[in-house]
Symmetry: C2
Subunit: 279 residues, 2 copies
């Protein structure tokens, strides 16, 4: 396994692979790798491509008050995971490599990114679209693998790829969950044992919505109310949002259809978690 730290070396390595006619699959991550990431890596390998895992905590997608500084970083642990999984290249650039101090170019998606996470975290998707564009241009993947846990992010990136004509196929891998249903997330490391126990309410709320939908409840407002009540059962939980949206555009729904997606965001203690379930 090769560890590459500079943009130039990564671009040269990518060009060499491309000229050999081998495909490249990119798994973009912020490190602190967990079972969810492992599922992404395996999906990339199933494509028979050279697998590049990027590890970069992207400052541009954090607001000043958010957890950029505390975000878990464990390059040695991450490299061990990648080695064990047979990854070909880890691209782990420094901030200096990734952003010039006078960087002034941004990629924005203005429709799918507008609501939900985009409303709560105004610079989030601009940061995501910009860094993913950069990673695509540096690593030159034919395929890139994202987790469905970040559902809105997946849809924003699909739209960006379509609109800008990135020659990259986007694969989304179903959310990997702990045995009790909690979606795997690097931020789960922030939870203390009591919070960890209560963090399952996000998924429980989604299951409530799915059960109601399967029983014939198509009213988006009532489905949202049921999710909110379910989340409020946990004393440590503070709701951010719970709603059902169009599965492609993330626009709000009044009458819910199959393929729509239920999405929740809540603070468990001080940790903000998100989850979703396609109905």
């Amino acid at each position: 396994m090769e560890l590459i730290r500079s943009v130039r070396s990564m671009q040269e390595a990518a060009l060499t692979v491309k000229r050999s006619a081998r495909r490249i699959a990119l798994v973009p991550t912020m490190g602190a790798l967990h079972e969810g990431h492992v599922a992404l890596i395996r999906a990339a390998q199933n494509r028979g491509a050279a697998v590049v895992v990027s590890i970069y905590v992207n400052p541009a997608q954090f607001a000043p008050h958010e957890d950029f500084k505390q975000y878990p970083r464990d390059l040695d642990g991450d490299l061990a995971v990648c080695r064990r999984e047979g990854v070909d290249v880890v691209f782990a650039p420094t901030d200096e490599e990734m952003y010039a101090t006078d960087a002034s170019t941004w990629v924005t998606e203005s429709l799918i990114a507008k609501r939900l996470e985009g409303e709560r975290r105004p610079h989030f998707f601009r940061g995501v679209c910009t860094v993913v564009s950069k990673l695509f241009l540096i690593c030159q993947p034919d395929v890139a693998v994202f987790g469905q846990k970040d559902y809105q992010q997946w849809k924003v990136i699909q739209r960006m790829v379509r609109d800008l004509n990135f020659p990259v196929e986007i694969i989304a891998v179903p959310t990997v969950r702990e045995p009790d249903g909690l979606a795997c997330s690097s931020r789960n490391r922030y939870l203390d044992p009591l919070e960890r126990a209560q963090a399952t309410v996000l998924y429980k709320a989604l299951l409530v919505a799915r059960d109601l939908f399967n029983q014939g409840e198509f009213n988006a407002h009532r489905l949202a109310s049921a999710m909110i009540r379910a989340i409020e059962l946990a004393p440590s939980a503070r709701l951010d949002y719970a709603e059902v949206a169009d599965g492609e555009t993330l626009m709000p729904r009044s009458e819910v259809r199959r393929g729509d997606v239920a999405l929740v965001a809540a603070y468990i203690g001080k940790t903000r978690l998100i989850d979703n379930l396609v109905l």
Copy 2:
């Protein structure tokens, strides 16, 4: 010479060239090819690369009141020029190929693009950055050739390429001028004979500024005033801007240095023309 009209065919053709280890040079144009474009094509050929000329009048860089509809279109004439010049591929997509009706992703540069053309034409550089990103991702060039006539555009694109890590080398070709000094531009076709005669004031104003600078006038305000007076000599001319700016960031200067750039924009009748000269 191959004429390609679809994004997919162009991406496939580019990948084939890339796998053959031959380099690709892109000359992005809006058609209505003139001697300035021919100079770009020849610069591309000098790199020994396969030359792709894109011909696309990009709606995203025109404001509703601007000349998108009237902009000269002459695909047959353009193809004849490209054939004569030994171009390898002409990529001439339709609007439907280039923009989905619900396109929502934009590339913006927020510093160099802010003033001058960006101030007068608020969506211009967003349109330019977005379409150039798309053309880069569709045509996969190793080298792209731009004209120095659009000085600010050149600098915005250089910055964009740096910030987003496009693996593309940007070459800028000096402005090609008519015998009387008027910079070649597709929009010169709008000028009637009287206006055409007066259109030389833009270049004359720039020469005035350069002469004064060479004589030791470093005050940006006085250089701008001299350019304005020179432009006002033409009865058909209406000044838009005339100033000296930092050659890299396009920020305004008070004390002018070598390498700074004098820029003018003026309406000659109803036709808006721009020109520039590095001091």
